[in-house]
């Protein structure tokens, strides 16, 4: 290839521009020869997101030796009789337009770092062009929590993109199941330190012990057991959550959707990608990757409740899932950052919806033996013990406290503690406390301003820290803090500190320097 053509820069302002000035030169010739040939949905959605993010120019990189595509090539395409290109194209999206007559290198040498938006890899395959793609989410996708920061190198310049890696299935080396597993593993690679298998390795790992058919081409997809094996072989501890078929009556269906959301929500809050197996009535099963949730306005009467059973009766507090109507998924069939909602209440009926989930696989890190459901049950039970004699607290707690559970590694937790406005006594306690690698945290916040938690005054009034390696039946809390003065109760703050070792102590401490601090707002992509 002519070196000058390895990189070129094109200013764009619409999908038509991109089609005419970029794609017509690089998409598979015979398939896209007609100028009105439809773009595949993942490709079109990727380009729409880039334009929504403010893309004004595309730097087109040719002869890209993409490791994931090269693995697909070695496993399958190299064995075809006809020629299949070994290389890909990569489209790098920038917010700045290039000056007239500026070469690609001149543009690269002068463009600002923060002008870089992200990239899409274009495979030389018809109908399944979209290879490794990383873009930030569009603005309407509020909380994309399962994401990471990725360095990008172009001709000696280094840029950076924060997002959730996306890939379309190639329909020969892998189907939707492999694509979803790839997206999950690639998102977690740096954070967790485990391997991120390429699509060919995923198929190979999945079918190592249980092959139901020939393994190549793999158009039949993977069974649940094969998916678990592939994720496990990459060093993670995949958990399965099973759901019954949704009921048929609308009212029952809504209750069912609430239960499903509540079970999945803590994993999304924990930045853990969740592979979903969806089975709509009219089609075969499909895999999606759950990566975030929305953030709609809610009124107190809409709160979903956590019921605490006390000797004097019961007390309802609000579950944080109340502020989630729907989720965001990467759907390899339709594109990145797609809304995933309840079909029963949606005005435009989606093809795949929460009602269709039959199983979910949160890609848990190793060493988390307690599930989110068990952690929530344990935290609620601990609250029942603590509140059993605090009658005054009960009067002000009802419906006013939000209960949110998430998994955090101890470094992130301590970093948050260090930067938080909490009292010095509490800060010292958390920074010095001997903690396992990860902890389940149930955060307690005041509901009134929870909606505006990102900009509002601090509203967090406590947390329950659980040991995720322990058995929920053994009261596995490590620390519990409740800022009682913040609730208008005439008592000092409470700190319960537990040494989990045999004969370990349980201390009850009074905190006299309490301060209300901000709840943990995760850095969404």
């Amino acid at each position: 290839m002519d070196n000058a053509k390895r990189l070129h820069i094109v200013n764009v302002s619409s999908i038509d521009d991109i089609r005419n000035d970029v794609l017509n030169d690089i998409l598979h010739t015979s398939w896209h020869a007609a100028s009105d040939a439809p773009l595949s949905s993942p490709l079109e959605q990727t380009l729409i997101i880039a334009l929504e993010l403010g893309c004004k120019s595309i730097l087109v990189q040719g002869q890209v030796q993409d490791p994931d595509y090269l693995a697909e090539y070695a496993a399958y395409y190299s064995k075809l009789f006809r020629n299949v290109d070994r290389y890909c194209h990569r489209l790098h999206f920038f917010k700045e337009a290039a000056a007239a007559d500026q070469s690609a290198l001149q543009f690269l040498d002068t463009v600002a770092q923060d002008s870089y938006l992200g990239f899409a890899t274009i495979r030389p395959l018809p109908r399944c062009e979209v290879g490794v793609t990383i873009l930030p989410p569009p603005k309407q996708a509020h909380f994309i929590l399962s994401h990471d920061k990725f360095p990008v190198h172009i001709a000696g310049r280094e840029f950076e993109v924060t997002g959730t890696p996306f890939m379309q299935q190639d329909n020969a080396v892998g189907a939707c199941a492999q694509a979803s597993i790839w997206m999950a593993l690639r998102t977690l690679r740096k954070k967790v330190g485990n391997s991120a298998l390429d699509p060919a390795q995923i198929t190979s790992a999945a079918t190592r012990f249980l092959a139901l058919n020939r393994t190549m081409p793999n158009r039949e997809g993977l069974s649940h057991s094969q998916m678990i094996e592939a994720v496990r072989s990459a060093g993670h501890a995949p958990l399965t959550i099973m759901f019954d078929e949704a009921p048929h009556e609308d009212e029952e269906k809504l209750e069912y959707v609430k239960r499903v959301k509540r079970l999945l929500y803590p994993y999304v809050e924990s930045e853990i990608p969740v592979i979903l197996g969806v089975f709509p009535e009219t089609n075969e099963g499909h895999a999606l990757l759950l990566i975030g949730h929305d953030w709609p306005q809610k009124k107190p009467e809409q709160y979903e409740k956590v019921r605490l059973r006390l000797a004097e009766g019961s007390l309802d507090i609000a579950h944080a899932v109340s502020w989630t109507d729907g989720f965001f998924v990467h759907n390899d069939n339709t594109g990145p950052y797609q809304p995933f909602v309840c079909r029963t209440v949606a005005t435009e009926k989606p093809y795949y919806a929460i009602e269709d989930i039959r199983f979910a696989i949160p890609v848990l890190p190793n060493g988390v033996f307690m599930t989110a459901q068990e952690a929530e049950e344990t935290s609620a039970k601990m609250l029942q013990y603590i509140l059993s004699r605090l009658g005054d607290v009960l009067k002000v707690w009802s419906e006013r406290i939000v209960f949110r559970t998430y998994l955090s590694d101890k470094h992130s937790f301590r970093k948050w503690v260090l930067e938080s406005a909490m009292s010095d006594t509490l800060k010292t306690h958390y920074r010095e406390k001997f903690l396992p690698q990860r902890v389940w945290i149930t955060e307690l916040s005041i509901a009134d301003a929870y909606q505006d938690a990102m900009d509002a005054p601090p509203i967090r009034i406590g947390e329950i820290i659980l040991d995720p390696t322990d058995d929920p039946k053994d009261a596995p809390f490590l620390s519990i803090h409740i800022n009682l003065p913040a609730l208008g109760v005439d008592l000092p703050g409470l700190l319960l500190d537990r040494d989990p070792n045999p004969d370990g102590k349980i201390d009850i401490k009074n905190l006299t320097d309490e301060v209300v601090y901000a709840c943990y707002v995760r850095k969404a992509a």
Binding site: G221, S223, H224, G285, A287, T371, E377, R389, A475
Partner: protein
Amino acid sequence: MTTRILSLGDAIFEALNTREDRALSPEERGQFYREFNAGISQEIEKIRETQRRASEDLKNLTLA
């Protein structure tokens, strides 16, 4: 002399009202752990039973 054994709730109530830190005695800890276990075991077993059934039901689901 008889030692009082308080429940966790009562011990918290006493510590906060007297403003005096305290540790649970070994007997109080034992009582708390036994009570907690009895109070949560049924719910946890229910969650685990659902997971056990799930493993059986999932064997034949394929995603393409």
